[in-house]
């Protein structure tokens, strides 16, 4: 993103030249941009794996790949999309935007920030290299349940564990930095309840990260010990329990899915008001709803384990607690809709993605509620219905929000407007492709098609073919987005400081592109 930094209007020095700039940088915009590019690259890698999966599933029978390799593809697709694409994209946006939104010169701990980023390419290099190791790469699913990931795992699992440890260090350091920035670097006058929603959502997300990533570190350490040093955490012969793995994993895992959606909530809460030309309806209820979601996310983890054999009280508790989350989530959806109500709306690309977010995320929320009904989940669990559910919350949820954010703030980052027609094309093709891919999965899931299996019964053939066509359409469409970003960096209509008529917030008081050092002297917030 060279246009971001070619800014000589500032008297003090801009960025260093050349390649080393990116390696040594402490600048939040440089680091944010690197996070975003890294995430985009991983999005294509994970996407390629998904297309391998969809090619195999295009028709019943085994035709493209060996089942062993199919397992590696489902596992790597999940791991890379979760830890390599969605999370780094949100962290990148946080890096770029939080300092400019709160009127700070940079992140609170700039060197630590650089470290958090550079750990990621290294850890993913280790993770991906496991595909070429003896016995193959990770093949136990992105949830790496014991004993699949312990007793029956390929030797490369040890490298998987160490790669995850590095990622964990990156996440924890990154979140600590964000928390310190938000608590310590706000411009005078910006009280907590005046903070932009994106900042709020990241404050809560970082808290979740600091709380649960260490638990992930704990569970992979137990795996490491069980595999290599003879402990029996997950082995009943020694008094342990494989179900223990699932408890500890999902204590991390459920908050993790909220880590992937709360920043999206924040983004949408900026974009909808901007293009409805109204202030956000119910700001404080948004803050409280986000906080309650974060709190509740700690006490619902066993909804992933309804069928594994937990006591009846457990089933009931986790069923009701899970349903409770629908309340604050409903508050948020209500507020977004009410913000649009009687607004003077226009439908530029960011708004299209944001509206699609509200509609399609809600579908995912409803299928979540269906899954939350413990007795019903006995039928849905481990079928394509679950796959449909989480892809509806993650693709038009997390990923559409990331796209929306990129279109919305790209003028601020690059100083240029993106070509609107290309953006709209990208949106509509993504919208159609994504629904083609994932909507049929509801039907085949309810009809009983199991997930993570490379072959299937003839009865599921038609819908699977539709899903595969949709997946290729969606995948290829993303090249349009790459084109949009490159074109916008290289030129285009100059963006004004306030690039959107209805935009609100400190970031729009800076020129576009924003200067290399954001607010050297903090602005006053009334």
């Amino acid at each position: 993103m060279s246009a971001v930094i070619d800014n000589h209007t500032h008297d003090h020095h801009g960025p260093k030249k050349g390649f080393m700039r990116w390696i040594l940088t402490t600048n939040h915009k440089d680091i944010g941009a690197m996070y975003l590019w890294f995430s985009f690259a991983m999005f294509f890698v994970g996407g390629a794996f998904a297309l391998v999966i969809r090619s195999e599933l295009f028709q019943p029978g085994l035709q493209m790949v060996e089942p062993e390799f199919f397992n590696q593809m489902t596992t790597m697709h999940g791991l890379i999309m979760v830890f390599g694409a969605v999370m780094p994209a949100f962290v990148g946006l946080a890096n770029w935007l939080i300092p400019v939104m709160i009127g700070a010169p940079d992140m609170a701990l700039p060197r630590l920030n650089n470290w958090s980023f550079w750990l990621l390419p290294f850890s993913f290099a280790i993770l991906l290299s496991s595909l070429f190791m003896e016995g193959g790469g990770a093949n136990y699913g992105w949830t790496f349940y014991a004993p699949l990931s312990t007793t029956y795992a390929p030797p490369s699992v040890t490298f998987f564990i160490f790669a995850m440890h590095l990622m964990g260090v990156s996440s924890i350091m990154g979140s600590i930095n964000i928390i310190a920035t938000i608590f310590n670097m706000r411009a005078p006058g910006m009280t907590l309840m005046k903070m932009p929603m994106f900042v709020w959502s990241w404050l809560i997300t970082s808290y979740l990260l600091v709380a649960v990533i260490p638990v992930l570190a704990g569970v992979i350490t137990m795996m490491l010990m069980d595999i290599n040093f003879g402990t029996s955490f997950f082995d009943a012969a020694g008094g342990g329990d494989p179900v223990l793995f699932q408890h500890v994993f999902w204590f991390f895992g459920h908050p993790e899915v909220y880590i992937m959606i709360l920043p999206a909530f924040g983004i949408v809460s900026h974009i909808i008001p901007a293009f409805a030309r109204k202030t956000l309806f119910g700001y404080s209820s948004m803050v409280y709803a986000t906080s309650s979601i974060a709190f509740l996310s700690f006490i619902v983890w066993a909804h992933h384990m309804f069928t594994v054999g937990i006591p009846l009280v457990g089933e009931l508790f986790f069923m009701y607690a899970t349903m409770l989350i629908a309340v604050p989530t409903g508050v948020k959806v209500f507020n977004w809709v009410t913000t649009m109500f009687r607004g003077s709306m226009t439908f530029e690309t960011p708004m299209l993605f944001a509206i699609a977010f509200v509609v399609l995320f809600t579908i995912g929320g409803f299928s979540g509620l269906m899954l939350a009904v413990a007795p019903a989940d006995f039928q849905y669990h481990d079928t394509y219905f679950v796959v449909a559910h989480f892809h509806y919350v993650l693709v038009p949820g997390a990923i559409f929000a990331i796209f929306a954010a990129m279109y919305y703030w790209l003028p601020k980052m690059t100083g240029n407007m993106y070509p609107e027609w290309l953006g709209k094309l990208h949106f509509w093709l993504s919208f159609v492709g994504m629904n083609l891919t994932f909507f049929p999965m509801h039907f085949i899931g309810l009809a009983g098609m199991p997930r993570r299996i490379p072959d299937y019964n003839m009865q599921f053939a038609d819908f699977n073919m539709v899903a595969s066509v949709g997946a290729f359409a969606f995948g290829i469409t993303q090249l349009i987005f790459l084109a949009v970003v490159v074109i916008t960096i290289r030129g285009g209509k100059k963006a004004e400081a306030k690039s959107w008529e209805g935009a609100d917030g400190l970031e729009w008081s800076l020129p576009s592109p924003a200067p290399y050092h954001s607010f050297s002297t903090p602005p006053e917030v009334k």
Binding site: A108, N114, W118, L119, F122, A211, T231, A236, G239, P311
Partner: protein
């Protein structure tokens, strides 16, 4: 920079830290995989050692840079607060790491072991482990019980410990040591705040000695466990939880004691002032945290 907040220009520290940490992890991975495959010609341990040395070196340079910046007056009060927030949340993340292992301990004790013994909601699992009884410490594993009552030897025939460590011996002494070290580090802090250099030197020195004596006793306990009590990492889930909890705690005591030792040296070099000594304060917070974890361990691992 126009602003008062110090933003370092460029730095080679983080990339060095990344490379060092990656080498260390790759080395550890190679080492462990080779060990497990019975490959004696592994160079994993060497790579690991190189990585570890590099990590320590980078930490050394990184902290000295921060200290030098501070001494040069580049750190505003606001920046200092960033360090305070950073340390506080780092300790919180450590708390959650221990929480995972405590959670595992509580889970096996209240759920999985009773179930395997045929008690409670999921007692049906006992069908697979005839003869297994619910005791804690778990002296006889399900595999052992099955072998004894039916003669069936499972593939993973895990043996329980012969004996466990009673809380009233070394663990009690260690509790007293660690609790008093929390008090001494507090006295050191009071001394420092009152400008009483001598008190700081002595009390902090005492804390460090207490810390290392604790580690020594802990090592003695481990030797005893492995050589005489048959209590090892491999003795069922009791051994697993015992060694992982006390082991990670012991590691943290070592780290804390090293941190405090560095603070002692820094104090001798006159780095700290009565109102400006966050490095020491951070280390002492860490020390108190390690102490609190021990109290939990003493209660739930040794006594109850």
């Amino acid at each position: 920079m126009a602003g008062s907040y110090y933003v370092p220009e460029q730095s080679s520290l983080p990339i060095a830290a990344t490379i060092a940490a990656s080498i260390m992890m790759l080395g550890a991975g190679t080492w462990v995989v080779d060990l497990n495959a019975g490959n004696v010609y592994s160079n994993g341990s060497t790579i690991f050692a190189v990585g570890l040395a590099a990590v320590l070196a980078v930490m050394w340079f990184w902290f000295s840079t921060v200290i030098k910046e501070h001494q040069a007056g580049m750190n505003s009060a606001q920046l200092q607060k960033s360090y305070v927030w950073g340390m506080g949340w780092f300790i919180f993340s450590e708390v959650m790491f221990f929480a995972a292992f405590f959670g595992a301990l509580f889970y096996v004790r209240t759920f999985s072991v009773p179930w395997l013994a045929g008690e409670g909601d999921k007692g049906v699992t006992n069908m697979l482990w005839t003869g297994f009884e619910n005791t804690w410490p778990l002296m006889q594993t399900p595999a052992q019980a099955l072998a004894e009552s039916t003669g069936v030897i499972t593939a993973d025939h895990v043996k329980g410990p012969d004996q466990v460590i009673p809380w009233s011996g070394l663990p009690l002494i260690n509790t007293l040591l660690l609790l008093s070290s929390s008090v001494t580090v507090h006295f050191a802090h009071v001394g420092l705040k009152n400008g009483n250099d001598k008190a700081m030197t002595r009390w902090l020195g005492a804390t460090i000695i207490l810390g290392f004596v604790f580690v020594g006793f802990q090592a003695e306990e481990y030797v005893l466990a492995y050589t005489q009590l048959g209590l090892t990492l491999e003795s069922g889930v009791y051994g697993a939880t015992f060694f992982m909890l006390t082991g990670f705690h012991g590691l943290h005591v070592c780290i804390g004691a090293i941190m405090l030792s560095i603070m002692w040296l820094r104090h001798r070099r006159g780095h700290f002032k009565p109102h400006d000594h966050f490095g020491f304060e951070a280390a002492s917070w860490y020390w108190h945290f390690v102490d609190v974890v021990w109290v939990g361990l003493f209660l739930f691992v040794y006594i109850l």
